[in-house]
């Protein structure tokens, strides 16, 4: 019912295009995470949806209503501001209750909602205090509580947990997700935190330089990035990319990385044929590379440069020609820096990318074009 639709939105600041023809549909009750590097226009997009700073072109629809030219008040959205914007002259209670008071909510309902929101964010002890002297994390929680208590059709959250310590963030993430599920609010959630994005979002929208590059489920964004940028932006460590040349070898089309020849899976052959004699990128996730401590069939011998124990796994840094590779192993895997291991690249886990455009080479796409 309350889906958010942005159609071909353009937002300019003078000559600078902050939002460049963005279209995005967030379904009713859906939780979409907006992810992208600093300055890519995430806040600008949220503000455009909220009605703060009108779009120069395009439309915004909320719940089937064209709100492009409506005031923020008339859009029935709620928002967590990146800089909190909680009111210093009001108590925490009045801050959280602000929107409800404006709507003339009955006193008992208001009281209840404020207290619920405050409890969820662990600020129920501070309701009588003024935010003036509070820490960034406390203010941020007030801002989130205010947004949740308001109960709008659409909830826009701009890095709502960015200022909390790791432990609190972990807890808040789960509780927020559960609560938002119960409320059934349509949510757009901006974050820099990869784990937050992957764990909370029904879908992730990846932005870059004012454009939305990919909108997909977390697993697809992680597994099947549409281009080099998404692959190297999502995931920690990001996807490894190696320069490879496509050539005929032993009568079949193969990708050569260093001394290693990788045979593409059959469904990729047609798509890769036009690249014969050219260079491409092949991408593979750290955990999809198989690391062997002994030589194996088709395995590439490499030297380990760095070993980083991360607790749940060990991260190895490996150089293959001038490509830096990060691969992960079980923490018990026996290896030291300078030691030798053998790598296997499962073909099905390899992502193939055009070197010039950075875009993924996919079988479907090629067939559509052909």
């Amino acid at each position: 019912m309350a889906e958010i639709i942005v159609e071909h939105a353009v937002k300019k600041f003078g000559k600078f295009v902050a939002i460049d023809d963005v279209s995005l549909t967030v379904d009713d009750k859906e939780f979409v995470v907006l992810l992208g590097p600093s300055g890519c226009g995430k806040t600008t997009l949220l503000r455009a949806i909220a009605g703060l700073g009108m779009v120069n072109e395009g439309r915004v629809l909320i719940g089937g209503r064209d709100v492009t030219y409506l005031q923020p008040k008339e859009r029935n959205v709620s928002m967590v501001f990146q800089n909190y914007a909680i009111f210093p002259h009001m108590t925490v209670f009045d801050n959280i209750a602000f929107g409800l008071k404006m709507r003339k909510t009955p006193r008992d309902v208001l009281q209840e909602r404020v207290e619920t929101a405050a409890r969820l964010l662990h600020i129920e002890d501070m309701l009588d205090r003024r935010p003036g002297t509070m820490s960034g994390g406390q203010r941020q929680r007030i801002a989130v509580a205010r947004a949740i208590a308001y109960d709008a059709q659409a909830l826009l959250m701009d890095e709502p947990l960015s200022n909390l310590d790791a432990l609190l963030r972990l807890e808040m993430r789960a509780e927020l997700k559960a609560l938002l599920g119960r409320l059934g609010a349509t949510t757009i959630y901006v974050t820099h935190d990869q784990i937050e994005a992957l764990s909370m979002g029904d879908r992730i929208a990846v932005m870059r330089k004012g454009q939305i590059v990919q909108v997909d489920t977390p697993t697809r964004v992680y597994d099947l990035p549409v281009d080099h940028f998404v692959g190297s932006f999502i995931g920690n460590p990001p996807m490894n990319f190696m320069r490879a040349s496509v050539q005929k070898h032993d009568g079949a089309l193969q990708a050569r990385v260093g001394d290693l020849y990788i045979t593409p899976p059959d469904y990729m052959l047609a798509a890769l044929r036009p690249y014969e004699g050219k260079d491409i990128y092949i991408g593979i996730r750290a955990e999809n590379t198989e690391v062997l401590s002994q030589p194996g069939a088709g395995a590439l011998p490499v030297t380990v440069e760095v070993v980083e124990p991360l607790g749940a796994m060990n991260l190895l840094t490996i150089l293959i020609e001038d490509n830096v590779l990060k691969v992960s192993t079980h923490p018990d895997f026996p290896v030291v820096a300078g030691g030798q291991v053998w790598l296997l690249f499962p073909e099905a886990k390899i992502r193939w990318m055009d070197r010039d455009t950075g875009r993924a080479i996919t079988p479907e796409l090629e067939q559509v074009v052909a």
């Binding site: 703060l52 923020p72 914007a85 009111f87 210093p88 709507r103």
Partner: protein
Amino acid sequence: MTEATVRSEVGSPAPMTQAVQAARRRAKMRHTLRRASVYAVAIAIALWILVPIWLIFTMAFSTPQDVRSFPKPFYPSPFSTDTIEFFLNTEGVLRSTLNSFIVAIIALLLSTAIAMPAGYAIARFVFRGRDTIRLGILSVRAFPVVVLAVPLAVVFIRLGMFDQTYSLALMHTALTLPTTILVIASVFMGLPYEFEEAAQVFGCTRLQAFWRVVLPLAVPGIAAAAVLTFVLSWNEVFAAILLTITNRTLPAQILYNLDKSGDPYKFAGGFFMLVPSLIFIFFIRRYLFSMWGQLNK
């Protein structure tokens, strides 16, 4: 750098330590000197202002005989309110004090009422000619009233507004408005726009956002600006003399009688001119500091 690190870096520790200590002594000396000179200047400025004020206070609370005597006493002995009483009982003083009050209050109200929206517009809206208007306001401030004296008097006489309390109040409003607008604009500029935006998202119209969020936060600053207006009007004498004859304000009255009266009258008058300003400035000094900080930005 601590001595320990110096020592560990250098082979022969003893002479190096001495050099470091000498350098430290010199730095300390320079620091002390700099502070001393700052204090000296500050004390000089303070004395420059405080000595006359002290003199006025002393005189105002001495007996008229003491005031007329020479050399004058440096503190009230005996303490007496005779001089003040004498001044207050002088013909026209009470009425002109009341006039001053009325004029200053009207000027304060009008000036604040106009400067609030004007200052808000300058602070928040990007409109064509905004900078020109700002500059215009500043240059009005620099414009000498003396030049306007005769035309103003003529206009006021023609309009039948001459020698009226309210017309002087209008004049003072016009004179103080530039300052008030700029001060109030700087108060609004100091408030993040995000507060208003948040209020708008949570159900306020622009106007409601102003009333509920901006105004409460701006009130101290606006009050300071209003008080400034009051003090400016209270002390203003040129327009007061120019535009009124029977309805004189206090400074006009004092100035008018200055050469006809003795020292007790002058000092008591000075006291009455000074006190309201001092009281007000005492109460708003915190805001004045923060405002000037912002104006300097």
